[in-house]
């Protein structure tokens, strides 16, 4: 009778098969992580109180400086949307960081991805500049770099120092909730939404405190508390995009 033995070759075979299967699972998991909306852990959210917004445009300029955005591009415009009583109502429009983002679905190269904390990011080294995401975004939140941004940034240093690399010509760019400030702040043990050094530049600079930031999964975060205290709405909720930017409608009593 032949002795049943588990020799070196069998061992290698099983190891190889196992490793391949594990690697495959890992790939599938990564695909799922970037291709579908994350739900666990920290989820950053922004609340904008339209009663407090005076349309000063400080957030527009701080954004341009901190993210080194070209003068002809605005990641975070402030729109005049009407009047309540005799007061003008403004609507600032950052990227909505949708949980079901149309831009992530349509990108042919997976250059638009969800971070685990819900921020929709663009990989500027991967983007081919096809602009399908611009066509798909219901909020007009994306800008194409039609020409190369050279020379000094006119918003620097008055409105802050640039903290990220300037994007090359021919890619699509957008608001990132100042992910660089969040990531660096978290490394220093700070809390985004509470400590300025871990909070988006537009939130810090707002002179009336119209912007409130934080982790929406943490009931004690500033944004969670504010949204509990006020009724809010999101833009184009009918589309099912599940934005992470909440608006508190302007009320003439609070203005």
């Amino acid at each position: 009778m032949k002795k049943t033995n588990f020799n070196r070759r069998d061992f290698l075979k099983i190891t190889a098969v196992g490793a391949t299967a594990l690697a495959g699972l890992q790939v599938i998991r990564r695909v799922q992580a970037s291709g579908s909306a994350p739900s666990g852990g920290r989820q950053w959210a922004l609340a904008i109180d339209q009663s407090k917004c005076t349309g000063c445009g400080y957030c527009v300029m701080a954004c341009k400086a901190h993210n080194d955005v070209a003068p002809d591009i605005t990641w975070n415009p402030v729109l005049e949307v009407g009047k309540t009583g005799d007061k003008t109502v403004y609507l600032p429009r950052p990227c909505m960081q949708c949980a079901n983002a149309p831009c992530v679905d349509v990108c042919p190269v997976k250059a638009s991805i969800y971070r685990p904390d819900g921020i929709v990011m663009i990989d500027y080294d991967r983007c081919i500049g096809c602009r399908y995401c611009e066509v798909a975004c219901p909020y007009g939140a994306r800008s194409f770099t039609w020409k190369k941004f050279t020379g000094p940034n006119p918003a620097v240093p008055q409105w802050g120092e640039s903290e990220v690399e300037r994007r090359p010509r021919g890619v699509v760019e957008k608001c990132t909730f100042c992910y660089q400030r969040i990531d660096r702040g978290m490394e220093l043990g700070l809390t985004p939404g509470v400590d300025q050094d871990a909070t988006p530049a537009c939130v810090n600079v707002c002179p009336t405190g119209a912007r409130i930031f934080g982790d929406i999964h943490d009931p004690e975060s500033p944004v969670s508390q504010y949204l509990r205290a006020h009724s809010s709405y999101r833009l184009r909720e009918d589309l099912g995009t599940a934005p992470r930017v909440y608006f508190i409608a302007a009320d003439v009593k609070d203005m």
Binding site: V81, D105, A111, C127, C130, V135, F144, W146, L235
Partner: protein
Amino acid sequence: MKTRKMLRFSPWLAWVFFLGILIIAGAIAAFFVYWKGLSVTNLTDLVPWGLWITIDLTSIAISAGAFSLCAIVYLLGLKRFQPVARTATFIGLLGYTMAILTLLLDIGRPDRFWHSLVFWNVHSLLWEVTMCVTLYLGVLLLETLPIFANFEWLRSRWPKLAARMSQAHHLAPFLAVAGLALSMLHQSSLGALYGVLKARPLWYRPDISLLFIISAVACGMAITVLASMVSARLTGRANVDDSLLDRISQIVGWILVFYLYFRFWDSLAMTYTYEPGRTEGLRLLTRGALSFNFWIVDILLGIIFPMVILVNKQTRSMPFWRMLALLLVVSGVAAFRWDTNLSGLLIVMSYVPGTPTMGYTTYRPSLIEILSGAAIVSFGLLAFSLGVRYLRVVDHQVLDHAETGTQAQTLKEIPTPSAD
């Protein structure tokens, strides 16, 4: 003496010279695009897709003759259409080449064109289209190998290689299946690419994909017949069997009947209730800036008029009317692509509560877009002209072109003794 002869005017040289000038002008324009970036176009963040996308979509539509005629020949077994399918396959190769050239202009980072082949996003229709186009280009290259084997210079220089290339015709039935599958995926996906966007209510409808593939089949067959007829009239190097072209023209006419019917219901269904963005888009098409394109170029001259001409036997047999009708089919499909793209983009959708739309924007291509686009079309015309002259892509006399050179010659020799 010899120089004088070379300088003598010939229509062929004038044609090549004319196309050459357009191609050079377009190459200069393309150089500006790469040097200065897409800021030299009139594209904006509101209208990021314009003339180039229309050329791109139309090039792919004119290529649809390849898969549909190959399916007729190799899958339905109507072998007599084989020489027409051969012309269509060559046009298909040129069409896809034109589409890829246009895309290389249009994307912001042409140096990263290969990213979609490596970094897959299976959710994206644009990814699916890119994969199918790349694979189908491979199929078309294999399908056109026997055509390139006809090149006289190649046959005299490397006869063995030419014979090898001719042998690829054995693959034709398998390539026809692959071509049909890939085309049925991406010809419709090009429409679905617009149709899946919920943020653009005019596009957000399920049948835009079907309209794209049906119109593409009509357009691809039309341009194949048209190009064959024009070539046969201009040069002795092309000869056609008119009974084949007549029959395909009739098929185009009947496709148009169904296409018109689907277009009618597609448009009517969108008028039922007011929907922000969709209703404004329809107004743009039927009464606004795109209305001439929509009613005249697309519906009346692009579908109804050629449909009547091509279904009716008498008008179809008159070469002038048939050629005119086929040309109008092609321009109608181009107008449909242009309108589909722009009607969705020109309406600026609003996200402001209580304001469903912000109004209309405008788009007019810049000179650089027009020149580079014209160069790509000229490239297609020049390549087809060279194909007629040197590869005999329009030749209905030899039954099986896929045979090796020697066998084709024997076939030609047969009638001579019997005539004696």
